[in-house]
């Protein structure tokens, strides 16, 4: 079905089920318990998970398949966001045209940047993309936001104001991005015993697009085109010597990957109608590289896991403060309590970068294949016994020479 083999179909079903049931899965602790701090099942963070999942899936099409390490993908994220907000400002809050323009604009910029950057490979390619991204950032941050010609609204970020044109906006429609009248911000809450689960329209919109993006990425990985991209990664020179021009393939991969980033940027603006320049900064480009490597570059599900991992740390660990810590360890005697809090203090709150850095190091050192490799190792650990028996059986069946 869907042109997938059995393994890929299972993977797609797993991703789809996880995405659709996320409000339950990410909310394992009762609302009033002290562990509720670790719940991630609220709309904003769930949206971030799937949006950055899309971003990382797209990045992985370029990096995972061709091996070209782009350090400027955040530029497309920003372009997507600005395009979407301009649709809101000029025409309508409906997200469909906004998403379309986001993807198209990102594709145009990816074509331009890719055409130039792909003339070089390796580190030179990375530097070129980084340079373009920083140029875009500088343009968005100050050059294109001067009082005479204000395209991006600089540091404040592009927002929709009450006196904007909004040609097709009429009363009765929500004053917020919506899909044919259904506001992206509307959330249904389901109290169930001690738990409360939140179902958000914006989240499900993003989640469905993420599942589609994931499906597209599987198909691309398994296609002859995907095979060609892998060939570029393993030995581009040899490929060129056979008389094959690999540049159209890499350019196509770059543009597709840029379009994914544009879609992710558009979705960021769909769930929160604001586009800021720092979305295009090099740190944002670096973040998607981290996500992909952390999850497992070149694997299908890795980038999605990596995106979730990093966003979780950014949003959950940065909010733990000393007061919360004291609550957790309040059962200890006073001196010990203070000592434990002082010990953990550097790793929480403002220290979340430190925790993330340590985990990143551990993953890269011990699991070079990322979280996916971790999963595989655990799988092997439990699967080994069975396979050993299989081999024993096979050995038994093979007649002795």
């Amino acid at each position: 079905m869907l042109g997938l083999n059995k393994n890929d179909r299972t993977l797609l079903v797993i991703v789809a089920v996880l995405a659709l049931l996320a409000p339950f899965i990410l909310n394992p602790f009762p609302t009033d318990s002290s562990l509720a701090q670790f719940n991630a099942g609220y709309p904003d963070l769930m949206q971030k998970f799937v949006i950055f999942g899309i971003f990382a899936i797209g990045f992985n099409i370029l990096f995972g398949l061709t091996g070209y390490l782009s350090f400027g993908h955040a530029a497309f994220l920003g372009i997507g966001s600005y395009s979407a907000v301009w649709i809101y400002k000029l025409f309508t809050y409906n997200v469909i045209p906004a998403m379309m323009l986001s993807v198209v604009m990102a594709a145009i910029f990816a074509l331009l940047i890719g055409y130039i950057s792909l003339r070089r490979s390796g580190i030179y390619f990375s530097i070129l993309t980084l340079a373009f991204a920083q140029m875009s950032f500088a343009l968005a941050y100050s050059v294109l936001s001067n009082p005479k010609f204000n395209l991006t609204n600089g540091e404040t970020g592009l927002q929709v104001y009450a006196n904007d044109i909004q040609m097709f906006h009429r009363d009765g429609l929500p004053d917020f991005p919506h899909i044919f009248g259904l506001s992206m911000g509307s959330t249904s809450k389901l109290p169930l015993g001690a738990w409360e689960f939140q179902f958000n329209v914006g989240y499900y919109f993003c989640a469905i697009l993420m599942i589609l993006a994931f499906y597209f990425s599987i198909r691309l990985f398994r296609s002859p085109f995907g095979m060609m991209l892998r060939a570029v990664k393993s030995n581009q020179q040899r490929m060129n010597y056979t008389g094959l021009n690999s540049r159209p393939y890499t350019l196509a991969a770059f543009v597709i990957s840029g379009m994914f980033a544009g879609l992710a940027g558009g979705l960021l603006a769909a769930t929160d109608p604001l586009a800021g320049a720092e979305r295009m900064q090099w740190t944002a480009s670096g973040e998607v590289v981290l996500m992909t490597i952390l999850g497992g570059a070149g694997t299908l599900i890795g980038p999605v896991l990596g995106a979730g991992f990093i966003k979780y740390f950014e949003n959950i660990f940065s909010k733990i403060n000393d007061q919360v810590l004291h609550q957790w360890v309040s059962f200890m005697p006073d001196g010990l309590e203070d000592f434990v809090v002082a010990l953990i203090h550097p790793f929480i709150g403002k220290g979340w970068h430190l925790t993330l850095g340590i985990l990143f190091m551990l993953v890269v050192i011990f699991l070079p294949g990322g979280l996916v490799e971790g999963g595989q190792r655990i799988g092997r650990l439990f699967g080994r016994k069975k396979r050993a028996e299989d081999t024993a059986d096979a050995a038994a069946k093979t007649p002795a020479e």
Partner: protein, 445 residues
Amino acid sequence: MSKSDLTRRGVMKAGAAGLAVPTIFTAGSAAAYTNEPTGGSVTLGFNVPQTGPYADEGNDELLAQQLAVEHLNGEGDGGCLNTFTSKALQGNGILGKKVEFVTGDTQTKSDAARASAKSMIEKDGAVMINGGSSSGVAIAVQGLCQEAGVIFMAGLTHSNDTTGKDKKANGFRHFFNGYMSGAALAPVLEKEYGKDRRAYHLTADYTWGWTQQESIAAATEATGWETVNNVLTPLASTDFSSYIAPVLNSGADVLVLNHYGGNMVNSLTNAIQFGLLDKEVNGKDFKIVVPLYSELMAAGAGENIKGVFGSMNWNWQLQDDGTKAFVKSFGEKYGKPPSNSAQTCYAQTLLYADACERAGTFNPCGVVEALEGFEFDGLGNGPTLYRAEDHQCFKDVLVVKGAENPTNAYDTLEIVEITPRAQVEYAPDHPMFAGGDLGSCNPGA
């Protein structure tokens, strides 16, 4: 050929069931407004930069906010609750509910700040967001709070736009702004440096820098100064030497640094290294002005700020009762005097709590009504008005200069003049603040 046993009908049914899940349960909560507190406690969200260029300011704000919560809950010595002219707060929480708080890291980035504020609103049930140490972040979070239906009490934000073209009904600013800096500084500069000065501006290239430069240039030109040039510098710059060199050849005799935080420390240091202050141009001593000062910047710039003029919202060396009470509580708890960003967050938290008490509700519309046109005193800035038209506080502004002979690590700035409120007031439709729309309060839900 498909090898699957899944049929089209099966898929459709499963899909329909999956999609129907979110709509089966309607948003049936009876809350009258976003995050109506129902238990015995109320949650406030303190959203400050804990990492990034303004982390020092943010962490100082966080200390002050925690102190405010203690005082609201009746712990500690009560601080400014004893000096505040409104006596609605009893030290038993807000409206009898114990005050709890959550903290977040804005990273001085609009996106991160909004994500953090959203998690406070969506997950922790915060009814008010306080903090921010950058105008871009403050404006972004203010817009978010307007959409979500909670109150935003701005922290350190100095751009005219926060209560100008980006003002929002659910947002309030206690801090002063670029226009007020200009209005307070210009007369002092005229008195100290004379009427016929030629000023050269270096300006951080973003909204705050532009609005402040515009304000300072307008105010000084009104006293007879001439603005020779205004050069925009990228925010990310760390070395300003290339911007300083042309100043010497421009014929200017005053350098105005519209920079903040680390930018200001670096540009001032560069200017001193070039020996600008030892120069004599047009027969006058060369001078440097830094319109927006903070204690933390002064500490960073060290020796270099001696004699350099600037303006501040508040300073711990003021001698009124409110200031003394706050500095005493803060100093006893943390062993250092508070910065002016800490003071504005402390005052904002108390003002919010007081407004809830007077309104008898946490409903944002009730709070907005209680704060609009509210006159108070005893929080450290003298008699203050929260103007209804733009939700900007009007109070005295301080003109300060780098101390010539600081006696300890904290009195690096000395107060030159307390500019009276009347001198820094402006009409709500002043051109520098025009173009915005306050809208109406949004209770959410």
